[in-house]
């Protein structure tokens, strides 16, 4: 049985089902409120939700009960310093760290929070908050956000972040210091003479290959890239894709040469009438379309950066993506074919599978 945690504009939806057939909605939470992200920490089973209440502000919630069976608790400390000029706008992502009790949350305005007690209390990462380059960071259409947090398996001190629009950030000392990882990324939305020193890089998503952690894949605002040196430099691997624009990236955890992307047109940021997932199994040298079972006409879907998820690996890899149209599609065979999971949900912001 597969569980999907689906963050939508009108609440958290939990779906369950067997890969290959329609899933059932088993419960809802935060009804009517925007849920930007939800995940289950596999180490503890604890559920997390990032809720951006238009009334009461952004907040991380957690529960150890099964969805619908108990109470959600508000986490403490997910806030900017009091008395300053900025306020937290939203939490974009929550990720398990590589040490007991360590959990991360990323949000707008370009902030990272850390918890060492399984998400009950949190602290702002000061080094990133006070980074001297911050005045040069730029907002994209979604805000200024830490939206991807990528730990290094087995090494709790090493972490990569994606910030829109401030590029890739790396730490090897648990967040005490941060360095850029932007070499090779080309921002063609900037004048040529500005690109070499640009910090305002609009990275859309970042994923690390667990079997080869120095390898990462990146979907950019016009470009798909691969790094083989832990994110310090990047190689353009978009050749062969119909469009180099898109938002999410997903990997097969068993194959460090794999990646799945959902290209959309640069002009309107939706699929170009047909929905196609593209797969590489040679680290981006070639790409193959995977569209069997996906709509191939009159389909202009928007799939946001957190709305594509994987569970399992290898031949048992299951893939799921949700669109702002409220539809969810899934694959039980690593993308070879696709089935309808759910329809008519509110606009989908995130999908996590487990």
């Amino acid at each position: 049985m597969t569980e999907l945690l689906v963050g939508t504009r009108k609440g958290l939806f939990v779906l369950e089902g067997e890969a290959g057939s329609q899933f059932a909605i088993t419960t809802r939470a935060f009804v009517g409120e925007p849920v930007d992200y939800a995940m289950r920490d596999a180490r503890t089973g604890r559920l997390f939700a990032a809720v951006t209440s238009p009334f009461w502000g952004p907040r991380v919630w957690f529960t150890d009960d099964e969805p619908g069976a108990g109470e959600w608790q508000p986490a403490r400390g997910v806030a900017l310093p009091k008395g300053g000029e900025e306020a937290l706008k939203r939490v974009w992502v929550i990720a398990a760290g590589e040490a007991d009790g360590l959990v991360y949350a990323g949000g707008d305005p370009g902030v990272l929070f850390e918890s060492r007690d399984d998400g009950e209390t949190w602290q702002l990462n000061q080094a990133l908050w006070e980074h001297p380059t911050r005045p040069r960071w730029r907002r994209d259409s979604g805000g200024l956000s830490v939206h991807a947090i990528v730990p290094w398996p087995g090494e709790p001190q090493r972490l990569a972040l994606a910030i829109s629009a401030a590029g890739v950030w790396l730490t090897d000392d648990g967040g005490a210091t941060w360095s850029h990882g932007n070499e090779g990324i080309v921002a063609d939305y900037l004048p040529e003479e500005a690109r070499a020193t640009a910090i305002d890089l609009c990275v859309h998503h970042l994923e690390r290959a667990p079997q080869r952690p120095e390898r990462l894949f990146l979907q950019f605002h016009g470009g798909v890239y691969r790094s083989d040196d832990a994110g310090r430099s990047w190689i353009d691997i978009a050749a062969g894709l119909p469009h180099d624009f898109g938002f999410p990236v997903v990997l097969d955890p068993a194959d460090p040469d794999s990646a799945f992307v959902i290209p959309v047109t640069t002009e309107d940021r939706v699929t170009d009438g047909s929905v196609v997932v593209w797969e590489t199994r040679d680290a981006g040298a070639t790409w193959m379309p995977r569209d069997r079972g996906l709509p191939q006409s009159n389909a202009w879907l928007s799939v946001l950066r957190q709305a594509f998820a994987a569970t399992g690996s290898g031949p048992g890899l299951e893939l799921y993506f949700g669109a702002t149209s409220g539809e969810i599609f899934g694959s039980a065979d690593a993308g070879a074919s696709w089935f309808g999971v759910a329809t008519r949900l509110p606009a989908i912001a995130s999908v996590r599978a487990g």
Binding site: P54, F55, W56, G57, R59, A79, L80, G84, A87, L88
Partner: protein
């Protein structure tokens, strides 16, 4: 002391549906409310100390601005605004 009436999640976090709070203005009263009841921290005022955009505050049934004066025995209600969707 003014009387603040809380409903729903706010009541649960405060542990009471009615709280007596002192404050010269609405903003000062909300600051005191959050300080005296840490579970409510950040629910009314953001980190800048600004009233959240889609909250309405009523004093004795009348909508007021954050800098409105609060008198002894005023009844305060804090409600979601329809502008929040």
């Amino acid at each position: 002391m003014a009387m603040v009436r809380l409903r729903g999640q706010l009541e649960k976090l405060a542990g009471s549906s009615q709280l007596s709070i002192e404050g010269g203005t609405v903003t000062e009263l909300l600051q005191a409310l959050e300080e005296e009841h840490p579970g409510l921290e950040g629910w009314f005022l953001d980190e800048r100390g600004v009233l959240r955009q889609h909250i309405n505050v009523f004093v004795n049934g009348e909508p007021v601005e954050p800098d409105a004066t609060v008198e002894e025995k005023d009844r305060i209600e804090i409600l979601p605004a329809i502008s929040g969707g």
